[in-house]
């Protein structure tokens, strides 16, 4: 466990005990990462703010359900953020999500901490993605990071929607094979 992971796990444990100061510290530490994830998926500030708020309400009420044997604290919170953001995205009426994300994408090179992370925990998923054809690995990333739908992927790659879907599903099965090898 890294010291940041330990710190977050400690804070979550205290949040489960209704320690408000710990909750505020947890918010300070984790909210930029979660908000970043929400913005990339939703491309809409107001929606990303709402989802972030919902996620922290859930964290306050469910911190005692955090199971350290299943996920790191940040992975647990990241998954909650992505899940709610994607629920919001898929339920959205047409017209939302027109935020110009150019500024968000401007400096997309990983920082030193991110690189360290990729070298350790991230090595497996990164290595397995390189075993896929580059376009398929790209589609997986676009779906995961940008929340792209099959329709958007079909337009981007100039292929019928069903074709995109079946190669993405096959890519997932290949990925799983590699990840559990």
């Amino acid at each position: 466990m890294t010291s940041e992971t330990e710190k977050l796990a400690d804070l979550l444990g205290r949040v489960a005990l209704r320690d408000r100061a710990a909750f505020q510290q947890l918010y300070r530490r984790a909210s930029p990462q979660l908000f970043g994830i929400g913005l990339r998926i939703l491309k809409d500030r107001a929606e990303a703010e709402d989802v972030l708020q919902e996620v922290f309400v859930k964290i306050w009420h469910n911190a005692d359900r955090y199971a350290p044997q299943v996920a790191s604290p940040l992975a647990w919170m990241n998954a909650m953020m992505r899940n709610l953001a994607i629920d919001t995205l898929r339920r959205r009426k047409p017209g939302g999500g027109d935020l110009d994300v150019a500024e968000l994408l401007a400096d997309d090179s990983p920082g030193p901490e991110d690189q360290a992370l990729m070298r350790s925990e991230g090595r497996r998923i990164e290595a397995c993605l390189t075993e896929l054809e580059p376009a398929r690995a790209e589609a997986v990333r676009l779906a995961y990071v940008e929340g792209e739908s099959y329709l958007e992927l079909a337009e981007r790659f100039g292929a019928p929607l069903n074709t995109i879907r079946s190669w993405l599903r096959r890519s997932l099965i290949k990925l799983r094979e590699c990840l559990t090898r």
């Binding site: 796990a9 400690d10 444990g13 205290r14 489960a16 005990l17 209704r18 320690d19 408000r20 505020q24 918010y27 909210s31 930029p32 990462q33 908000f35 970043g36 994830i37 913005l39 990339r40 998926i41 703010e49 972030l52 708020q53 922290f56 309400v57 306050w60 005692d64 199971a67 350290p68 044997q69 299943v70 996920a71 790191s72 992975a75 990241n78 998954a79 994607i86 629920d87 898929r90 968000l104 920082g111 991110d114 992370l117 990729m118 991230g122 497996r124 998923i125 997986v140 990333r141 779906a143 995961y144 990071v145 929340g147 792209e148 739908s149 993405l168 599903r169 997932l172 099965i173 799983r176």
Partner: protein
């Protein structure tokens, strides 16, 4: 833990992957969310995908949210602290004497002080077993002598209980009681023990149901950690 489960149908592996990626169309996504409620194997499958993909989420550039998000959260979760007339409304509401109100009172007592913040002397001990399957966090408030604990992870085996011990220097471990298998509990520390809590070590052992016979630990130590002042 989840690795012992039989490998699910490859179609479900792919669908769980699509669910985690977020590409499932809305109707299918909602249908999958309903299935998750009844199929533990799918929950494990989703958790696996989330863990596998998480390093990619960690690459996303963080963006600081505006202050209003925290302000809204505080107003929503802790209204009695942030609303100007909060405490008055709270007592008027309580005087209704309904069951609802007594539940709310319990919740508020658990949340802590509804009035002005008092100076607190808090100690915390965060015990995690070596294999990370059991976690017990204890928060001790020196000002009122209450210890609150939260237990998460794998419960003890059938017919066994976890017992919490206070270890101070060379003294024999003192039992603080049998722990719930999951969730939270609050327990007052007897006055004669309070002086021992600061800088003590807390430990959990695996004991026969009901706790160690004769008040002497018999089982292996599951996890231990020192109390730290916070």
């Amino acid at each position: 833990m989840t690795d012992d489960a039989p490998e699910p149908d490859p179609r479900d592996i792919a669908t769980a992957g699509e669910y985690v990626l977020g590409t499932l169309p809305l109707a299918e996504r909602e249908a999958f969310q309903r299935r998750i409620l009844n199929e533990p194997a799918l929950v494990a499958e989703v958790a696996r995908w989330e863990t596998h993909f998480d390093p990619i989420a960690a690459e996303v550039r963080p963006v600081s949210p505006p202050a209003k998000v925290w302000n809204n959260l505080e107003r929503r979760l802790f209204p009695e602290r942030t609303a100007p007339a909060g405490s008055v409304r709270f007592w008027q509401w309580l005087s209704l004497g309904s069951v609802c109100a007594s539940i709310a009172l319990l919740a508020l007592l658990w949340l802590g002080q509804p009035g002005p913040e008092t100076e607190r002397n808090l100690w915390v001990s965060d015990m995690v077993s070596a294999d990370s399957t059991v976690r017990l966090t204890a928060l001790y408030d020196e000002t009122d002598g209450e210890m609150r604990i939260s237990v998460a992870g794998q419960p003890p085996a059938q017919g066994r209980d976890f017992e919490l011990w206070l270890i101070q220097g060379d003294r024999a471990p003192i039992s603080l009681g049998v722990m719930p298998h999951q969730g939270q509990a609050a327990m007052p520390i007897p006055e004669d023990l309070r002086i021992l809590v600061a800088n003590a070590t807390l430990a959990i052992t695996d004991e026969p149901a009901g706790g160690a016979p004769g008040g002497v630990a018999t089982g292996p130590i599951v996890a231990q950690a020192e109390m730290r002042r916070i």
